[in-house]
Amino acid sequence: MQTDGSRPLLRVDGLSKRFPVSPVWYRRSNSFVHAVDGVSFEVARGESFGLVGESGCGKTTTGKLLVRLMDPTCGRIVFDDGDEGPVDVSTLKGKPLKRFRRKAQMIFQDPYESMNPRRTVFDTIVEPLKVQRMGSHLDRLDRVLRMLGLVGLTPARTFLFRYPHELSGGQRQRVAIARAMVIEPSFVVADEPISMLDVSVRAGVMRLMEDLAARLEIGYLYITHDLAAARHTCSRIAVMYLGKIVEIGETETVLQSPKHPYTQALLSAVPVPDPTVTRPPVRIRGGVSPSLDPPARCRFYDRCPIADDFCRDNEHPPLQDKSSGQMASCYRV
């Protein structure tokens, strides 16, 4: 899966997160929501890796685990940006964890909720620099100004002391991007960065993220439910369903010839912006099954149009190479 000979920026191995659910708060629970369940993938330096799936499939939880906003239940996250050798992020504590935060940042979905309304644009963007004790006050001002210019909020000086309510959605998301990028991280988790934005503004923010990635050599984990957006930004994608990766590969290959029945259903449900095209019906049954203590068999069994008795009686299928690097977890393809 490695894209070139060098070591990947991030290697995720068997990552899991379970949330305990107890019927009464004082009793120990023996039920678990398997939000992320044995997920493995790699992100190369400067690569945009897409994580797609429906709401509740565990993609946001995966993102939060990777930047350690949550602690994984088990699994390894090996981070290596070439500065100080590989580190296992999943168990970091104290100073090393703080050092890791200088390199890994997150952009959140909703620019209306992810910003403190009482803080100015300058306060918001300068905060990571303060936390990391980077530069003098003047240096920081300089970096914030440069960052504002980079994200296209110009003239930068006029934006410094504005409050979030004085900005439009697109401008807020640019501030959020500036805040994530100001400490020049090597890895950024972008959780649906454009889904709350207006159509005409989206393309601009997408292009901005691409430019910054190229300029600062940032590896992205791009979380989205929008396959079309993923197609535009990501070189490789993984499709998640109920905490599992069910298909992974080069974006174009996966989207042009999807192997897993879930990927096929997901793709055929995307509306086509051409009134002369009639889409065939989507081949999927029912709704998303609950992720509370799922049975061991294939997670997609209940909804799968091609499942048979073998799928019912065996464990969740492992990811297998279906054609030159395109992996899918399905017994029937």
Binding site: S200, V201, A203, A228, R231, H232, P275
Partner: protein, 337 residues
Amino acid sequence: MSERSGDAEALGGGRSPGPVLAVEGLTMHYSTRAGVVRAVDGVSFSVGKGQALGLVGESGCGKSSLALTLLKLLPENAQILSGRILLDGMDIVPLPEERMREYRWSRIAMVFQAAMNSLNPVYRVGEQIIEALEVHVESAREESLRRVRELYDLVNLDPSLIMRYPHEYSGGMKQRAVIAMALACEPDVVIADEPTTALDVIVQDHILREMKNVRAELGMSMIYVSHDMAVIAEVSDMVGVMYAGRLVELGSTVDVFRDPIHPYTRALTSAFPSVTGEKHELTVLPGEPPNMIDPPSGCRFHPRCPYATDPCRSETPPIVRRGGHWAACWNPTGEGA
């Protein structure tokens, strides 16, 4: 505006003798402390029986305000300044609120975005639909319940859910219930404001297909309001593109998508990435949608338009007609340009 309404009628009412809903020169403003917001400005269109009109535009372009104006569900600071809303030929603008209530829901109904909490969390969903029914149709409780069961059947909801609370419904189920509620009194026109925006693609697909089937079955007219060009392309026969409170392009969906006249329509169609076909470079439209308190002079799109010339800045653009659609533009793009 009169010439524009003539156009709309000629194009929109083509299928049936008289349009079910005709809007002529509708203007609605909100007065706020910061000034007057010109949310809807001289909008004209018509919808024939069984037709579906899609209204697209970005947030703040006035499409939701237009939808609320059609039902006269406006807040106190809003005022309809001019224009007519003809429901089967009768103007509902001058109707007092008591009379309006007879029309609302029974003749013209609305499907709200379910994620925006349009269901009351402390009442059972079935009771809320029965309440909507009983305001308009006098019937025994048994009768109403039977009707709710029919409606659930129509939108593919399990009847066992009728006496459950909204929190026991998933997002898709809530949206179906809200649709069932809108259909309760068999209205002639249903307005759906971003009916699937908060839903996952597979659920969205189910709901859009169901709405299409219901429309065919009951012969209703629909107005879809959405920011998503792809959704509009799939569900509507006609499309109206709104920008800064004005309708800038209107016509048959096929024509508008195949050969957009207005540069804004063109930008919208190419700003959308697509999962099928060639991967195209996305157009980046510079700037942001305008402030509606002080909209730009002339053509409201001129500050962001790549083709803007002098007349665009000062004068209201003329109507350009081509095939089955028209646009208000000084420098039309596409085949005829």
